[in-house]
């Protein structure tokens, strides 16, 4: 039992860190890829119109900011769930 405990703790810790890393990479790559992609294709997107705005302009002025806020709150929710899982698992263990 005493030899197994640290391994269990390490497993919980490693799972928590892996999931934290995965959600951080997902969050940041989603937003950064969207921003870079929009900048690269802004001229093409500007040929389309959305709510009276050229689409490329709209995305850089509003759309991506709203997307970043939504992703930010989604990240908070997911990370809190990951942290809660670790706390509960450690308490049970």
């Amino acid at each position: 039992m005493t030899t197994q405990m640290p391994e269990t703790e390490h497993a919980v810790r490693d799972r928590h860190q892996l999931r934290t890393l995965a959600v951080a990479i997902t969050t940041l790559s989603a937003v950064l890829c969207a921003v870079i992609g929009t900048i690269v294709y802004a001229l093409s997107l500007n040929r389309l119109w959305f709510l009276h705005y050229p689409l490329g302009f709209y995305l850089l002025a509003q759309g991506l900011l709203i997307f970043a806020v939504v992703v930010g709150f989604w990240y908070v929710r997911v990370q809190e769930r990951i942290d809660h899982t670790r706390s509960v698992t450690e308490e049970i263990g």
């Binding site: 810790r13 928590h16 860190q17 934290t20 890393l21 951080a24 969050t27 940041l28 937003v31 950064l32 921003v35 870079i36 900048i39 690269v40 802004a42 001229l43 500007n46 709510l51 009276h52 705005y53 050229p54 490329g56 302009f57 850089l60 002025a61 509003q62 991506l64 900011l65 709203i66 970043a68 806020v69 992703v71 930010g72 709150f73 990240y75 908070v76 990370q79 809190e80 942290d83 670790r86 706390s87 450690e90």
Partner: protein, 614 residues
């Protein structure tokens, strides 16, 4: 196991207090609007609208005075998440965002969006990569965290010295903006305004440190938001019939393109106009608003965006607030709220610029038939605009109308022929945001000098000497920046670009490695910080990278990459990290429990009590 060292319950009446403060600010504007209609002069209205809120902020700061180090440095770790978000948003946007960014959007249109996008994404980066872990560490300053992470006084001192550059530059930019606004609307010369603003910011910091900055800063942000929203909503209702300028200004694009064409604006190419990012001096609006990549090409846009994003993420003035909420989860949520508030401002800024540009150039197109508009004399009198018919054709085109970048926000209510009280409200709002940001930059600078430099020299566990050192540092830094502004010509936006570039180059690599790579060592941290800073310093001081905002941004990105490389290399090829460093790293990533710094304080206090008993 470990009980909190103190009751971390926020004041339950905070909502009522800030409701009263908001109501008082709105009531003041209404009362002054009535007095203006009764014949009060513009000067008296401006003095009332600017000075009375300043007295209120000072009163709040005085009411939050403290001699407790935990209150002074981290606001007692009991700030509710939304109130901390208000201050974080105020620091990110600042007077630079309120006046210089809106002006940059006016001049550059599409191309200036890189800056606002960078601020927003930078807060997201900070919230995901750094803030929760810094809250868990619980250090009072960013250099103190690095010192604790690597058990190294050298790392702490180095970080403390290196953070002076970005923080002092931003402090200078914010004080400059606040002093310019004060000197326009109050009977003060610019030099006197600089001294008075520096004294005001210093007094706010000295009274209660982080605590007074938090509570005065929250009120300042609310005043800033109300003061920006009210004139803009009035203009939006007048011209689009809807009180949502962010979503209705697209209806003005047709009028905007007509007015720009009538004023003689034609599409430009990068390098064609003198400054890619507009400077301090009055200049002509040469670029059509919607034209993409006219002043800055795609790669420059990406570089500017990344520079602001990485700089915001690693900005010491923002990260120093990572210890003020009750828990790691609260701090994370607080950053998300700040992200939402900054995004709202960034979404709003283009609407202000579009309304101002349409109103300005539509009226100028009518000059040959209707004569000079009334606002021209008013704006010229306040030195926000210069117009002259250079070619003698009886019309004033875009090239003959020189506009001060930082005056665009102030000009909007005058352009829309609104009562003067709304111009004073806009000035009061921008001044409040600038003061909130300046206070935080000043505190960051001074707290680091007191806690990281003086604290490392004087190891006595006494509160008063540390507080006295902090008071002296706040006073000295405020005075030094005021003197700097009196002798140097500072362009707030260019200084801000340089400051964000230095923050990115110096602190982004080291924070990323320290918080996400257990193998990072003290030598890696020193190499990462030093390389990033030195590369950017050489590029700016010797390589001419300071000439344009885009070249500064590119240099900062190169410095970030080289700093990361140096940090990884020095960590891999130097000695392996000590077991205590790994243990600290693992504890940092445990979301539960007290801050590591507080745990250490409690252990030290318990040991001291045992020694006394023995």
């Amino acid at each position: 196991m470990s009980a909190p060292s103190r009751q971390r319950t926020p004041n339950p009446h905070l909502g009522a207090y800030y409701g009263i403060i908001t109501s008082a600010f709105i009531s003041l504007a209404i009362v002054l609007a009535l007095f203006e209609q009764l014949g009060w002069s513009e000067g008296a209205t401006a003095r009332g609208m600017i000075l009375l809120p300043l007295a209120l902020y000072l009163l709040i700061a005085g009411g939050s005075r403290t001699l407790d180090p935990e209150d002074f440095f981290v606001s007692g770790r009991r700030v509710p998440q939304v109130y901390n978000a208000l201050v974080l948003a105020g620091i990110t946007v600042g007077g630079v965002g309120f006046f210089a960014y809106t002006g940059a959007v006016f001049f550059l249109g599409f191309d200036a969006l890189a800056i606002g996008l960078g601020w927003t994404c930078g807060l997201l980066l900070a919230g995901v990569l750094f803030v929760p872990y810094l809250r868990k560490a619980g250090a009072y300053t960013l250099p103190a965290f690095l010192g604790q992470r690597f058990r190294s006084r050298e790392t702490r001192m180095t970080a403390s010295v290196l953070q002076v550059v970005p923080t002092a530059l931003l402090l200078a930019a914010e004080i400059k903006i606040a002093a310019v606004v004060a000197s326009i609307f109050l009977p003060l010369s610019f030099w006197l305004a600089v001294l008075l603003v520096a004294m005001f910011v210093g007094a706010t910091g000295i009274l209660g440190g982080m605590r007074s900055l938090t509570w005065a800063g929250s009120a300042q942000f609310i005043a800033g938001a109300v003061g920006l929203a009210v004139p803009l909503i009035v203009v939006a209702v007048l011209f689009t019939n809807l009180p949502a300028p962010q979503f209705t200004y697209a209806e003005m694009f047709g009028s905007l393109q007509g007015a720009e064409t009538a004023a003689g604006m034609a599409p430009v190419t990068p390098g064609e106009i003198a400054h890619a990012v507009p400077g301090n001096a009055p200049m002509q609006a040469a670029k059509p608003f919607l034209q993409p990549f006219g002043a800055i090409n795609e790669s420059g846009f990406v570089a500017l965006f990344l520079c602001f994003a990485l700089g915001t993420a690693a900005l010491p003035s923002l990260l120093v607030r990572s210890g003020v909420t009750r828990s790691v989860a609260d701090q994370r949520r607080s950053t998300a709220w700040a992200l939402a508030l900054v995004a709202l401002f960034v979404i709003t800024a283009p609407s202000l610029a579009v309304f101002a540009k349409v109103l300005m150039f539509r009226d100028m197109a009518l000059v040959p038939t209707a004569g000079l508009p009334a606002w021209l004399a008013e704006l010229s009198g306040r030195q926000l605009v210069q117009a002259s018919d250079l070619n003698g054709d009886g019309a004033i085109g875009a090239s003959e109308l020189l506009i001060v970048r930082d005056g665009v926000a102030l000009a909007l209510p005058m352009l829309a022929k609104l009562p003067f009280v709304l111009t004073a409200l806009m000035a009061s709002a921008g001044l409040a945001i600038a003061l909130a940001a300046a206070g935080s930059h000043l505190f960051t600078l001074a707290a680091s000098l007191a806690d990281d430099v003086y604290g490392a020299l004087d190891r006595r566990p006494l509160a008063l000497p540390r507080l006295m050192a902090a008071w002296a540092a706040i006073g000295a830094c405020a005075l030094a920046v005021a003197i700097f502004l009196l002798i140097a010509e500072v362009d707030a936006l260019h200084v801000a670009v340089t400051a964000f570039a230095f923050a990115a180059a110096t602190f982004f690599p080291v924070l990323l490695l320290a918080l996400w790579w257990p193998r990072c060592t003290m030598w890696g941290a020193l190499a990462g910080m030093g390389t990033g800073f030195v590369i950017l310093f050489l590029a700016v001081a010797l390589g001419g990278a300071a000439d344009t905002a885009v070249s500064t941004s590119v240099a900062s990105l190169v410095a970030v990459i080289l700093g990361l490389g140096a940090g990884v290399g020095a960590s891999l090829y130097g000695p392996a990290p000590a077991a205590s460093d790994i243990a600290y790293y693992e504890e940092l990533r445990r979301p539960e429990g007290e801050a590591i710094f507080d745990q250490a304080q409690q252990r030290a206090a318990a040991a001291s009590a045992r020694e006394t008993d023995d």
